[in-house]
Amino acid sequence: MQSLSNRKKVVSDKPMTFMEKIYLPAIMGGMWITFKHLFRKNNTVKYPEEQRVFAPVYRGMHVLKRDEEGRENCTACGLCAVACPAEAITMEAAERVKGEEGLYREEKYAATYDINMLRCIFCGLCEEACPKEAIFLTDRIVPSEFEREDFLFGKDKLVEPMNARIDVTKRQHTGQRGTK
Protein backbone atom coordinates (compact mmCIF):
# COMPACT_ATOMS: atom_id res chain seq x y z
CA MET A 1 0.00 0.00 0.00
CA GLN A 2 1.21 3.43 -0.80
CA SER A 3 2.28 5.52 2.13
CA LEU A 4 0.00 8.45 2.83
CA SER A 5 2.49 10.56 4.71
CA ASN A 6 5.62 9.64 2.71
CA ARG A 7 7.31 9.04 6.04
CA LYS A 8 6.81 5.28 6.13
CA LYS A 9 9.90 3.32 7.03
CA VAL A 10 10.26 -0.40 6.65
CA VAL A 11 11.41 -1.91 9.90
CA SER A 12 14.56 -3.93 9.53
CA ASP A 13 16.30 -6.20 11.99
CA LYS A 14 19.85 -5.76 10.76
CA PRO A 15 22.63 -6.60 13.20
CA MET A 16 24.21 -3.48 14.65
CA THR A 17 27.38 -2.16 13.08
CA PHE A 18 30.44 -1.54 15.20
CA MET A 19 29.73 2.18 15.52
CA GLU A 20 26.21 1.41 16.69
CA LYS A 21 27.43 -1.21 19.11
CA ILE A 22 29.66 1.14 21.05
CA TYR A 23 26.59 3.33 21.65
CA LEU A 24 28.68 6.44 22.30
CA PRO A 25 28.03 8.35 19.03
CA ALA A 26 24.28 7.87 19.43
CA ILE A 27 24.44 8.88 23.09
CA MET A 28 26.44 12.00 22.26
CA GLY A 29 23.92 12.86 19.54
CA GLY A 30 21.04 12.48 21.97
CA MET A 31 22.77 14.55 24.60
CA TRP A 32 23.44 17.29 22.06
CA ILE A 33 19.72 17.37 21.24
CA THR A 34 18.71 17.69 24.88
CA PHE A 35 21.44 20.27 25.42
CA LYS A 36 19.95 22.45 22.71
CA HIS A 37 16.65 22.36 24.57
CA LEU A 38 18.32 24.04 27.57
CA PHE A 39 18.35 27.32 25.70
CA ARG A 40 14.95 27.08 24.08
CA LYS A 41 12.17 29.41 25.16
CA ASN A 42 9.48 27.60 27.11
CA ASN A 43 5.82 28.10 26.40
CA THR A 44 4.61 28.02 29.99
CA VAL A 45 2.03 30.63 30.98
CA LYS A 46 2.26 31.19 34.74
CA TYR A 47 -1.50 31.09 35.09
CA PRO A 48 -2.60 32.98 38.19
CA GLU A 49 -0.11 35.79 37.54
CA GLU A 50 -0.47 36.03 33.78
CA GLN A 51 -3.29 34.84 31.58
CA ARG A 52 -3.42 33.70 28.02
CA VAL A 53 -5.38 35.97 25.69
CA PHE A 54 -8.67 34.33 24.79
CA ALA A 55 -10.66 34.67 21.61
CA PRO A 56 -13.66 37.01 22.03
CA VAL A 57 -16.03 34.09 21.56
CA TYR A 58 -14.27 31.89 24.14
CA ARG A 59 -16.83 29.96 26.18
CA GLY A 60 -15.97 30.26 29.85
CA MET A 61 -17.96 30.98 33.01
CA HIS A 62 -21.57 32.05 32.53
CA VAL A 63 -23.08 35.38 33.40
CA LEU A 64 -26.75 36.28 33.98
CA LYS A 65 -27.14 39.71 32.41
CA ARG A 66 -29.04 42.70 33.66
CA ASP A 67 -30.44 45.30 31.27
CA GLU A 68 -29.44 48.96 31.13
CA GLU A 69 -31.58 49.83 34.13
CA GLY A 70 -30.12 47.02 36.16
CA ARG A 71 -33.07 44.64 35.95
CA GLU A 72 -32.42 40.94 35.55
CA ASN A 73 -33.18 39.72 32.07
CA CYS A 74 -33.94 36.14 33.01
CA THR A 75 -37.59 35.16 33.14
CA ALA A 76 -37.01 31.57 34.24
CA CYS A 77 -38.55 30.15 31.06
CA GLY A 78 -36.35 27.06 31.36
CA LEU A 79 -35.29 26.90 27.73
CA CYS A 80 -31.64 26.90 28.72
CA ALA A 81 -32.20 23.97 31.05
CA VAL A 82 -33.98 22.10 28.23
CA ALA A 83 -31.23 22.92 25.76
CA CYS A 84 -28.45 21.91 28.12
CA PRO A 85 -27.04 18.54 26.95
CA ALA A 86 -25.26 17.98 30.25
CA GLU A 87 -28.33 18.84 32.36
CA ALA A 88 -26.29 21.22 34.40
CA ILE A 89 -28.90 23.98 34.80
CA THR A 90 -31.74 24.00 37.33
CA MET A 91 -33.96 26.90 38.31
CA GLU A 92 -37.06 27.85 40.24
CA ALA A 93 -39.41 30.51 38.93
CA ALA A 94 -41.19 33.09 41.04
CA GLU A 95 -43.72 35.83 40.31
CA ARG A 96 -42.66 39.44 40.57
CA VAL A 97 -44.63 41.33 43.23
CA LYS A 98 -45.33 45.04 43.40
CA GLY A 99 -42.27 47.10 44.19
CA GLU A 100 -39.85 44.72 42.49
CA GLU A 101 -40.09 46.32 39.05
CA GLY A 102 -36.63 47.76 39.47
CA LEU A 103 -35.18 44.31 40.09
CA TYR A 104 -36.68 42.09 37.43
CA ARG A 105 -37.54 43.05 33.89
CA GLU A 106 -40.65 40.91 33.41
CA GLU A 107 -43.40 39.55 35.61
CA LYS A 108 -41.67 36.22 36.14
CA TYR A 109 -38.12 35.77 37.35
CA ALA A 110 -35.74 33.08 38.54
CA ALA A 111 -35.84 32.80 42.31
CA THR A 112 -32.96 30.34 42.19
CA TYR A 113 -30.72 29.62 39.24
CA ASP A 114 -28.01 27.00 39.61
CA ILE A 115 -25.37 25.80 37.16
CA ASN A 116 -23.33 22.80 38.15
CA MET A 117 -19.93 23.72 36.81
CA LEU A 118 -18.72 20.13 37.07
CA ARG A 119 -21.48 18.99 34.71
CA CYS A 120 -21.31 21.94 32.36
CA ILE A 121 -19.46 21.22 29.13
CA PHE A 122 -19.36 24.88 28.04
CA CYS A 123 -21.05 24.15 24.71
CA GLY A 124 -22.92 27.46 24.73
CA LEU A 125 -26.31 25.96 23.85
CA CYS A 126 -27.93 27.77 26.82
CA GLU A 127 -26.73 31.05 25.38
CA GLU A 128 -28.12 30.07 22.00
CA ALA A 129 -31.46 28.96 23.45
CA CYS A 130 -32.08 32.03 25.60
CA PRO A 131 -34.86 34.21 24.10
CA LYS A 132 -34.20 37.08 26.53
CA GLU A 133 -30.46 37.46 26.06
CA ALA A 134 -30.08 36.74 29.74
CA ILE A 135 -27.34 34.10 29.86
CA PHE A 136 -23.97 34.40 28.16
CA LEU A 137 -20.73 32.49 28.36
CA THR A 138 -17.86 34.88 29.05
CA ASP A 139 -14.08 34.73 28.77
CA ARG A 140 -13.76 34.31 32.52
CA ILE A 141 -12.32 31.04 33.88
CA VAL A 142 -14.36 29.07 36.39
CA PRO A 143 -12.38 29.30 39.63
CA SER A 144 -11.14 26.07 41.16
CA GLU A 145 -12.60 24.91 44.46
CA PHE A 146 -11.82 22.22 47.01
CA GLU A 147 -15.33 20.77 47.51
CA ARG A 148 -17.72 19.39 44.92
CA GLU A 149 -20.63 21.35 46.43
CA ASP A 150 -18.81 24.60 45.81
CA PHE A 151 -19.09 24.05 42.07
CA LEU A 152 -22.85 24.53 42.21
CA PHE A 153 -22.88 28.17 41.16
CA GLY A 154 -25.99 30.04 42.23
CA LYS A 155 -27.32 33.48 41.41
CA ASP A 156 -24.85 35.06 43.81
CA LYS A 157 -22.02 34.07 41.50
CA LEU A 158 -23.79 34.18 38.14
CA VAL A 159 -25.76 37.44 38.09
CA GLU A 160 -23.54 40.31 37.08
CA PRO A 161 -23.04 42.89 39.82
CA MET A 162 -24.30 46.42 39.08
CA ASN A 163 -20.98 48.04 39.82
CA ALA A 164 -18.96 45.62 37.70
CA ARG A 165 -20.85 45.04 34.49
CA ILE A 166 -19.50 42.30 32.27
CA ASP A 167 -19.00 43.11 28.63
CA VAL A 168 -20.55 40.53 26.32
CA THR A 169 -20.90 42.76 23.26
CA LYS A 170 -18.49 40.55 21.31
CA ARG A 171 -20.59 37.43 21.85
CA GLN A 172 -22.21 35.89 18.79
CA HIS A 173 -25.73 35.98 20.25
CA THR A 174 -25.97 39.60 21.37
CA GLY A 175 -28.51 41.94 19.85
CA GLN A 176 -30.11 39.31 17.58
CA ARG A 177 -33.30 38.64 19.50
CA GLY A 178 -34.77 42.11 19.35
CA THR A 179 -35.98 41.93 22.91
CA LYS A 180 -34.50 45.20 24.03
Binding site: I27, G30, M31, T34, L38, K46
Partner: protein
Protein backbone atom coordinates in the same frame (compact mmCIF):
# COMPACT_ATOMS: atom_id res chain seq x y z
CA UNK B 1 46.34 11.86 69.28
CA UNK B 2 45.70 15.22 70.94
CA UNK B 3 42.28 16.62 71.71
CA UNK B 4 42.75 19.53 69.29
CA UNK B 5 42.93 17.12 66.39
CA UNK B 6 39.77 15.34 67.54
CA UNK B 7 37.86 18.62 67.80
CA UNK B 8 39.18 19.70 64.41
CA UNK B 9 38.08 16.43 62.86
CA UNK B 10 34.68 16.58 64.57
CA UNK B 11 34.05 20.06 63.18
CA UNK B 12 35.13 18.86 59.75
CA UNK B 13 32.80 15.85 60.03
CA UNK B 14 29.90 18.10 60.99
CA UNK B 15 30.62 20.47 58.09
CA UNK B 16 30.98 17.69 55.53
CA UNK B 17 27.89 15.90 56.83
CA UNK B 18 25.76 19.01 56.53
CA UNK B 19 27.23 19.94 53.15
CA UNK B 20 26.52 16.48 51.72
CA UNK B 21 22.95 16.63 53.03
CA UNK B 22 22.48 20.17 51.75
CA UNK B 23 23.82 19.29 48.33
CA UNK B 24 21.67 16.15 48.19
CA UNK B 25 18.67 18.25 49.17
CA UNK B 26 19.31 20.79 46.48
CA UNK B 27 20.18 18.06 44.00
CA UNK B 28 16.52 16.98 44.20
CA UNK B 29 15.48 20.54 43.43
CA UNK B 30 18.11 20.88 40.73
CA UNK B 31 17.10 17.58 39.16
CA UNK B 32 13.55 18.81 38.75
CA UNK B 33 14.79 22.10 37.35
CA UNK B 34 17.15 20.38 34.89
CA UNK B 35 14.39 18.03 33.80
CA UNK B 36 12.17 21.03 33.22
CA UNK B 37 14.80 22.87 31.20
CA UNK B 38 15.44 19.85 29.03
CA UNK B 39 11.72 19.52 28.41
CA UNK B 40 11.13 23.24 27.73
CA UNK B 41 9.32 23.75 31.01
CA UNK B 42 9.94 26.03 33.99
CA UNK B 43 10.00 23.54 36.83
CA UNK B 44 9.22 24.16 40.50
CA UNK B 45 8.99 27.93 41.04
CA UNK B 46 6.24 28.36 43.63
CA UNK B 47 8.03 27.93 46.97
CA UNK B 48 10.15 31.01 47.48
CA UNK B 49 11.97 32.91 44.73
CA UNK B 50 12.65 30.50 41.83
CA UNK B 51 11.28 27.76 44.08
CA UNK B 52 14.46 27.48 46.14
CA UNK B 53 12.44 26.53 49.22
CA UNK B 54 11.02 23.52 47.38
CA UNK B 55 13.36 20.98 49.08
CA UNK B 56 12.14 22.22 52.48
CA UNK B 57 8.54 21.83 51.38
CA UNK B 58 9.33 18.34 50.10
CA UNK B 59 11.02 17.47 53.38
CA UNK B 60 8.03 18.65 55.41
CA UNK B 61 5.76 16.66 53.12
CA UNK B 62 7.89 13.54 53.61
CA UNK B 63 7.70 13.86 57.40
CA UNK B 64 3.97 14.50 57.43
CA UNK B 65 3.13 11.38 55.42
CA UNK B 66 1.88 8.28 57.17
CA UNK B 67 4.76 6.00 58.09
CA UNK B 68 3.38 2.74 56.82
CA UNK B 69 4.85 -0.70 57.52
CA UNK B 70 3.19 -3.63 55.68
CA UNK B 71 1.80 -6.24 58.07
CA UNK B 72 3.60 -9.15 56.42
CA UNK B 73 6.95 -7.46 56.28
CA UNK B 74 9.93 -8.14 58.49
CA UNK B 75 9.64 -5.03 60.60
CA UNK B 76 13.22 -4.57 61.77
CA UNK B 77 14.80 -5.30 58.40
CA UNK B 78 12.23 -3.02 56.82
CA UNK B 79 13.48 -0.18 59.01
CA UNK B 80 17.13 -1.20 58.62
CA UNK B 81 17.11 -1.05 54.80
CA UNK B 82 16.87 2.72 54.27
CA UNK B 83 19.20 3.25 57.22
CA UNK B 84 21.97 1.18 55.64
CA UNK B 85 21.46 2.93 52.30
CA UNK B 86 21.77 6.35 53.86
CA UNK B 87 24.70 5.37 56.13
CA UNK B 88 26.80 3.88 53.36
CA UNK B 89 26.28 6.75 50.99
CA UNK B 90 27.22 9.29 53.65
CA UNK B 91 30.24 7.46 55.09
CA UNK B 92 32.21 7.53 51.82
CA UNK B 93 32.51 11.31 52.17
CA UNK B 94 34.91 10.72 55.10
CA UNK B 95 37.93 9.94 52.95
CA UNK B 96 37.44 12.47 50.17
CA UNK B 97 40.15 15.16 50.12
CA UNK B 98 38.21 18.39 49.68
CA UNK B 99 41.10 20.77 49.08
CA UNK B 100 44.64 21.86 49.87
CA UNK B 101 45.54 22.30 53.54
CA UNK B 102 44.07 25.32 55.26
CA UNK B 103 46.09 27.24 57.82
CA UNK B 104 43.97 28.27 60.80
CA UNK B 105 45.58 29.89 63.91
CA UNK B 106 48.98 28.85 62.73
CA UNK B 107 48.24 25.15 62.45
CA UNK B 108 47.72 23.30 59.23
CA UNK B 109 44.29 21.72 58.80
CA UNK B 110 43.86 18.95 56.26
CA UNK B 111 40.51 19.21 54.51
CA UNK B 112 39.94 15.48 54.75
CA UNK B 113 38.41 13.60 57.65
CA UNK B 114 40.66 10.57 57.34
CA UNK B 115 43.51 9.97 54.93
CA UNK B 116 43.35 6.18 54.70
CA UNK B 117 46.26 4.65 52.87
CA UNK B 118 43.72 2.26 51.31
CA UNK B 119 41.16 4.99 50.53
CA UNK B 120 39.95 3.65 47.22
CA UNK B 121 39.55 0.13 48.63
CA UNK B 122 37.47 1.61 51.43
CA UNK B 123 35.17 3.22 48.85
CA UNK B 124 34.77 -0.01 46.88
CA UNK B 125 34.04 -1.86 50.13
CA UNK B 126 31.44 0.63 51.32
CA UNK B 127 29.80 0.69 47.89
CA UNK B 128 29.31 -3.05 48.03
CA UNK B 129 27.80 -2.76 51.51
CA UNK B 130 25.44 -0.15 50.08
CA UNK B 131 23.68 -2.82 48.06
CA UNK B 132 22.59 -4.44 51.35
CA UNK B 133 20.36 -1.47 52.03
CA UNK B 134 18.47 -2.05 48.80
CA UNK B 135 18.56 -5.84 49.11
CA UNK B 136 17.29 -5.90 52.71
CA UNK B 137 14.72 -3.19 52.04
CA UNK B 138 13.37 -4.97 48.97
CA UNK B 139 13.33 -8.38 50.59
CA UNK B 140 11.77 -7.26 53.89
CA UNK B 141 8.89 -5.56 52.05
CA UNK B 142 7.46 -9.00 51.21
CA UNK B 143 6.35 -7.73 47.82
CA UNK B 144 7.14 -9.26 44.46
CA UNK B 145 7.97 -5.96 42.81
CA UNK B 146 10.28 -4.96 45.63
CA UNK B 147 12.04 -8.30 45.47
CA UNK B 148 12.45 -7.98 41.71
CA UNK B 149 13.94 -4.54 42.16
CA UNK B 150 16.29 -5.76 44.87
CA UNK B 151 17.46 -8.75 42.82
CA UNK B 152 18.04 -6.56 39.80
CA UNK B 153 19.95 -4.08 41.92
CA UNK B 154 22.23 -6.74 43.34
CA UNK B 155 22.96 -8.47 40.04
CA UNK B 156 23.58 -5.10 38.41
CA UNK B 157 25.92 -4.00 41.17
CA UNK B 158 27.88 -7.26 41.16
CA UNK B 159 28.44 -7.15 37.42
CA UNK B 160 29.34 -3.47 37.27
CA UNK B 161 31.55 -3.46 40.34
CA UNK B 162 33.96 -5.76 38.51
CA UNK B 163 34.54 -3.38 35.61
CA UNK B 164 34.66 -0.48 38.05
CA UNK B 165 37.27 -2.24 40.16
CA UNK B 166 39.44 -3.02 37.15
CA UNK B 167 39.32 0.57 35.93
CA UNK B 168 40.21 1.78 39.42
CA UNK B 169 43.18 -0.61 39.46
CA UNK B 170 44.40 1.04 36.25
CA UNK B 171 44.47 4.42 37.96
CA UNK B 172 46.06 2.93 41.08
CA UNK B 173 48.79 1.38 38.90
CA UNK B 174 49.53 4.74 37.34
CA UNK B 175 49.72 6.50 40.71
CA UNK B 176 51.27 3.72 42.72
CA UNK B 177 49.06 4.45 45.72
CA UNK B 178 45.62 3.58 47.02
CA UNK B 179 45.31 6.80 49.00
CA UNK B 180 42.95 9.33 47.44
CA UNK B 181 45.15 12.21 48.54
CA UNK B 182 48.16 10.72 46.74
CA UNK B 183 46.06 10.14 43.64
CA UNK B 184 44.97 13.79 43.66
CA UNK B 185 48.47 15.16 44.35
CA UNK B 186 49.79 13.08 41.47
CA UNK B 187 47.56 15.08 39.08
CA UNK B 188 49.04 18.44 40.06
CA UNK B 189 47.91 21.39 37.94
CA UNK B 190 46.53 20.18 34.63
CA UNK B 191 48.20 16.74 34.74
CA UNK B 192 44.84 15.00 34.95
CA UNK B 193 44.36 11.27 34.51
CA UNK B 194 41.63 11.77 31.91
CA UNK B 195 44.30 12.71 29.35
CA UNK B 196 46.10 9.40 29.89
CA UNK B 197 43.11 7.13 30.49
CA UNK B 198 40.05 8.23 28.47
CA UNK B 199 38.85 4.65 27.94
CA UNK B 200 39.21 3.92 31.62
CA UNK B 201 37.20 7.05 32.38
CA UNK B 202 34.33 5.98 30.14
CA UNK B 203 34.22 2.53 31.73
CA UNK B 204 34.33 4.03 35.21
CA UNK B 205 31.68 6.61 34.42
CA UNK B 206 29.25 4.04 33.00
CA UNK B 207 29.84 1.86 36.06
CA UNK B 208 29.28 4.84 38.35
CA UNK B 209 25.93 5.43 36.66
CA UNK B 210 25.01 1.80 37.26
CA UNK B 211 26.26 1.84 40.86
CA UNK B 212 24.17 4.86 41.77
CA UNK B 213 21.11 3.30 40.10
CA UNK B 214 20.70 6.27 37.83
CA UNK B 215 19.12 6.22 34.39
CA UNK B 216 19.81 4.59 31.94
CA UNK B 217 20.59 1.88 34.51
CA UNK B 218 17.72 2.56 36.91
CA UNK B 219 16.33 -0.93 36.52
CA UNK B 220 16.06 -1.57 40.28
CA UNK B 221 13.42 1.11 40.63
CA UNK B 222 12.06 1.51 37.11
CA UNK B 223 8.65 3.01 37.73
CA UNK B 224 7.03 1.80 34.55
CA UNK B 225 7.40 -1.90 35.20
CA UNK B 226 8.22 -2.35 38.89
CA UNK B 227 6.22 0.54 40.42
CA UNK B 228 9.26 1.88 42.20
CA UNK B 229 11.12 -1.42 42.62
CA UNK B 230 12.73 -1.90 46.01
CA UNK B 231 10.98 1.10 47.55
CA UNK B 232 7.46 0.21 46.38
CA UNK B 233 6.26 -0.46 49.95
CA UNK B 234 8.06 2.46 51.53
CA UNK B 235 6.45 5.70 52.54
CA UNK B 236 7.22 8.79 54.56
CA UNK B 237 10.82 9.49 55.54
CA UNK B 238 11.95 5.90 54.91
CA UNK B 239 11.20 6.46 51.24
CA UNK B 240 12.84 9.85 51.66
CA UNK B 241 15.99 8.12 52.96
CA UNK B 242 16.15 5.84 49.92
CA UNK B 243 15.69 8.74 47.51
CA UNK B 244 18.08 10.89 49.51
CA UNK B 245 20.69 8.15 49.56
CA UNK B 246 20.57 8.10 45.77
CA UNK B 247 21.34 11.80 45.61
CA UNK B 248 24.06 11.60 48.24
CA UNK B 249 25.73 8.75 46.38
CA UNK B 250 25.40 10.76 43.17
CA UNK B 251 27.28 13.58 44.90
CA UNK B 252 29.95 11.20 46.20
CA UNK B 253 30.33 9.47 42.83
CA UNK B 254 30.80 12.83 41.16
CA UNK B 255 33.47 13.64 43.74
CA UNK B 256 35.23 10.33 43.11
CA UNK B 257 35.10 10.77 39.33
CA UNK B 258 36.58 14.23 39.80
CA UNK B 259 39.31 12.82 42.06
CA UNK B 260 40.27 9.85 39.92
CA UNK B 261 40.16 11.47 36.49
CA UNK B 262 39.81 15.24 36.70
CA UNK B 263 42.46 16.13 39.22
CA UNK B 264 40.26 16.49 42.31
CA UNK B 265 41.00 19.92 43.77
CA UNK B 266 43.79 20.67 41.29
CA UNK B 267 43.22 23.40 38.78
CA UNK B 268 45.43 24.87 36.04
CA UNK B 269 47.58 27.72 37.26
CA UNK B 270 47.46 26.65 40.89
CA UNK B 271 51.18 27.31 41.33
CA UNK B 272 50.59 31.08 41.33
CA UNK B 273 48.65 30.86 44.59
CA UNK B 274 49.70 29.72 48.02
CA UNK B 275 48.44 29.43 51.58
CA UNK B 276 44.77 29.88 52.37
CA UNK B 277 43.96 31.46 48.98
CA UNK B 278 45.12 28.27 47.31
CA UNK B 279 43.13 26.18 49.77
CA UNK B 280 39.89 28.07 49.18
CA UNK B 281 40.39 28.19 45.40
CA UNK B 282 41.09 24.45 45.36
CA UNK B 283 37.87 23.73 47.27
CA UNK B 284 35.96 25.91 44.79
CA UNK B 285 37.61 24.10 41.86
CA UNK B 286 36.72 20.73 43.35
CA UNK B 287 33.09 21.67 43.93
CA UNK B 288 32.81 23.12 40.42
CA UNK B 289 33.90 19.74 39.05
CA UNK B 290 31.48 17.92 41.36
CA UNK B 291 28.56 20.11 40.30
CA UNK B 292 29.44 19.65 36.67
CA UNK B 293 29.34 15.87 37.06
CA UNK B 294 26.07 16.00 38.99
CA UNK B 295 24.71 17.97 36.05
CA UNK B 296 26.05 15.36 33.61
CA UNK B 297 24.36 12.63 35.66
CA UNK B 298 21.06 14.47 35.33
CA UNK B 299 21.71 15.32 31.70
CA UNK B 300 22.12 11.62 30.92
CA UNK B 301 19.07 10.69 32.93
CA UNK B 302 16.84 13.06 30.99
CA UNK B 303 18.31 12.05 27.63
CA UNK B 304 18.57 8.29 27.53
CA UNK B 305 15.87 5.64 27.81
CA UNK B 306 16.31 2.76 30.23
CA UNK B 307 18.35 -0.28 29.18
CA UNK B 308 16.66 -3.63 28.91
CA UNK B 309 17.93 -6.04 31.52
CA UNK B 310 19.66 -8.37 29.06
CA UNK B 311 21.28 -5.38 27.36
CA UNK B 312 22.49 -4.26 30.76
CA UNK B 313 24.10 -7.62 31.45
CA UNK B 314 25.58 -7.78 27.92
CA UNK B 315 27.08 -4.35 28.33
CA UNK B 316 28.50 -5.14 31.73
CA UNK B 317 29.98 -8.58 31.14
CA UNK B 318 30.70 -8.64 27.42
CA UNK B 319 31.79 -5.06 26.80
CA UNK B 320 32.91 -3.15 29.85
CA UNK B 321 34.87 -5.88 31.62
CA UNK B 322 36.90 -6.91 28.52
CA UNK B 323 37.55 -3.26 27.66
CA UNK B 324 38.65 -2.53 31.21
CA UNK B 325 40.89 -5.61 31.26
CA UNK B 326 42.53 -4.82 27.92
CA UNK B 327 43.04 -1.25 29.07
CA UNK B 328 44.62 -2.55 32.28
CA UNK B 329 46.93 -4.80 30.30
CA UNK B 330 48.07 -2.01 27.96
CA UNK B 331 48.61 0.36 30.87
CA UNK B 332 50.67 -2.27 32.65
CA UNK B 333 52.80 -2.84 29.56
CA UNK B 334 53.40 0.87 29.07
CA UNK B 335 54.37 1.34 32.72
CA UNK B 336 56.73 -1.63 32.50
CA UNK B 337 58.33 -0.25 29.33
CA UNK B 338 58.78 3.17 30.92
CA UNK B 339 60.47 1.67 33.94
CA UNK B 340 62.74 -0.35 31.67
CA UNK B 341 61.67 -3.78 32.84
CA UNK B 342 62.20 -5.33 29.42
Amino acid sequence: MDSGLIIEKLILVAIIFSISLLIAMYATYFERKVAAWFQDRIGPDRAGPFGILQPLADGVKMFMKEDFIPSNSDKWLFILGPGISMFTSLITSAIIPWGEDLTIFGSSVALQVADFNIGILFIMGVLSVGIYGIMIGGWASNNKYSLFGAIRASSQMISYELAMGVSVITIVMMTGSLSLRDIVQDQHGMNWNIFYQPVCFIVFFVCALAETNRAPFDLPECESELIGGYHTEYSSMKLGFFLFAEYVSMFISSAIIAILFFGGYNFPGMDYFSGNTLAILSVIAFFTKIFFFIFVFMWIRWTLPRFRFDQLMHLGWKSLIPIALINLLITGLVIALNKGWF
